[in-house]
């Protein structure tokens, strides 16, 4: 039986156009040059390819290309943004306070905690039951020494969209810089640096049909936002991310950005229709259902709980048909549950039965209908011997 892939927020299949574009840079005849080798044609060709990809990334972000710093992943970009900025300002006594949010990706929370271990002070803002941030809480948390606010545009588990332009407006008269993790937004929502008001943006290619192993940090180039590098060596990427550039990966990221821009107008509405079809289908099936995360939401993510059934049991029930992401509680032997859902106050039954469904370019309506049928059947069977069966609400 074909496995229906509904885990595009984890990673996406490589776009064939991107793959074709990358192949010449993996060849042994001409595409192997080191972009730093300016003394011969191999190096200059590689350098030109890197420059072109930088333009492609910048074009998608509507931002100056000299702000793009290629990294190995979004996690690395996030670490460079947070630790690089905090270390830079702390060394110069220009601040030591970071603000982030409880529902951020573990890369952000982990980097903030590392900064904290190095002497920074950290404020983690709560969210409401819908996963939304309070702007007044943000304003209250701002201090004279706040150096950085780090927030995601689209939550990777729930799809909830933070109002980043409003956050940027709140920071307008404050020296704190704004880092936005746009990893889940690229290709699904417009990501325009100016419109967002961000000083730093991080992203990863494999979330939007590019290759794994390549990400980027965009940081304001005019005036140049200074970062302390995390590693040291050659002068690549303005010295902020030294190391020989992975030309094929960078070319892949550039092409993925170009494709994302090409598909953006049509993909957003199409993915939203698929997401709504799944949710509507499950509601109409009359099984207990809880949607985790309020509006606004990104079009490609739906986080749903099936109260009354255990997530690990439901996963065993559907996993021969559906490739979906369980809330971490369902598969984790520690049963701690998703930190995002816990921050939103989702109860135990919801936490233990939460799944993320996420869609991409290869998703279609037939797959959604099959998912509705498989999930409904599985939930009904598990509820038939659940002691919580009478405690959960069934939708007619």
């Amino acid at each position: 039986m074909r496995l229906i892939y509904m885990d595009h927020a984890a990673t996406t299949p490589l776009d064939p156009v991107v793959r074709e574009g990358m192949l010449p840079w993996l060849g042994s005849d001409s595409g192997f040059g080191n972009p730093a080798s300016a003394t011969h044609g191999y190096g200059r060709a590689a350098s030109a390819a890197v420059d072109h990809a930088r333009q492609q990334v910048a074009s998608l972000l509507q931002a100056p290309a000299e702000g793009v710093v290629f990294t190995g992943s979004a996690t690395e970009a996030i670490n460079l943004a947070i630790l690089g900025r905090l270390r830079f300002v702390m060394q110069r006594n220009r601040g030591r306070h970071i603000i982030t949010c409880a529902t951020e990706h573990s890369a952000v929370l982990g980097a903030c905690e590392q900064a904290q271990r190095e002497g920074a002070e950290l404020t983690v803002l709560p969210v409401d039951g819908a996963g939304r941030l309070s702007l007044s809480a943000l304003r209250s948390a701002l201090r004279d020494d706040t150096a950085l606010v780090s927030l995601m545009l689209v939550n990777n588990e729930t799809g909830v969209v933070h109002d980043i332009p409003a956050v940027a407006a709140a920071l307008r008269d404050h020296p704190a810089r704004l880092h936005v993790d746009v990893t889940q937004a690229i290709g699904k929502l417009p990501v325009d640096v100016s419109a967002l008001g961000a000083d730093l943006l991080s992203l990863s290619a494999h979330k939007f049909h590019g290759p794994k192993g390549i990400g980027a940090l965009w940081r304001c180039p005019r005036p140049r936002l200074r970062l302390q590098p995390l590693q040291f060596g050659g002068g690549q990427e303005w010295g902020e991310r030294p190391g020989t550039q992975a030309v094929h990966q960078i070319v892949g990221l550039g092409l993925a950005c170009e494709q994302a821009a090409r598909h953006l107008g049509s993909e957003g509405p199409r993915l939203q229709a698929l997401r709504d079809r799944l949710e509507q289908g499950l509601w109409e099936a009359g099984i207990p259902l809880q949607r985790n995360g309020g509006v606004p939401r990104a079009p490609h993510i739906s986080n749903l709980s099936f109260p009354g059934v255990h997530g690990e049991a439901l996963l065993a029930e559907v996993s021969s048909t559906l490739a979906i992401a369980a809330g971490s509680a369902c598969t984790s032997r520690s049963a701690r549950g998703s930190h995002v859902l816990r921050a939103m106050g989702v109860g135990d039954a919801g936490l233990l039965s939460a799944f993320r469904f996420s869609f991409g370019r290869d998703s279609n309506a037939d797959d959604i209908d099959e998912a509705v049928a498989v999930l409904s059947r599985g939930v009904r069977r598990l509820l038939s011997f659940s002691p919580l069966g009478d405690e959960v609400e069934t939708h007619d």
Partner: protein, 130 residues
């Protein structure tokens, strides 16, 4: 997805004895143990015949496939055994019988304890109605 032993999958997919009886039966015990928060909640029922053999087993479970399989295994294995034999079956045998990995065996204990409690209640009820 977690890989499950074949015996666990067989019982999970075709469970024996799922469901519960009306509780007001003769020589009968109902035990409810565990919590949603801990990830395992079990209702286990067990009835004894007049001559002291297990003749009814029912259960409901909120839990992982291994806990479902444990309930099913007990419902499959317990009928026909007397109280002392049932106690032996309920004490530490199911995990090995189903090849349940060590790191989820605490969940098995919840099912075993529920089974033991239901057996004790049923046996007490049988002693009263003798």
């Amino acid at each position: 997805m977690t890989e499950y032993p074949a015996a666990v999958l067989r019982h999970f997919r075709e469970p024996v004895g799922a469901g519960v009886f009306a509780p007001d039966q003769l020589r009968f015990g109902t035990a409810a143990l565990g919590t949603v928060k801990s990830g395992t909640k079990v209702v286990f029922q067990l009835g004894l015949s007049a001559d002291g053999l297990v003749d009814r087993v029912g259960w409901l479970v909120f839990g992982c496939p291994s806990t479902v399989a444990c309930c099913s295994w007990f419902a499959d294995m317990l009928p026909g055994h007397d109280v002392s034999q049932a106690k032996e079956l309920l004490h530490g045998q199911v995990a090995d019988a189903l090849s349940i990995p060590r790191d989820v065996r605490t969940r098995v204990l919840v099912v075993e304890d529920a089974g033991m409690m239901a057996l004790r209640l049923a046996d007490e009820d049988r002693q009263k109605t003798r």
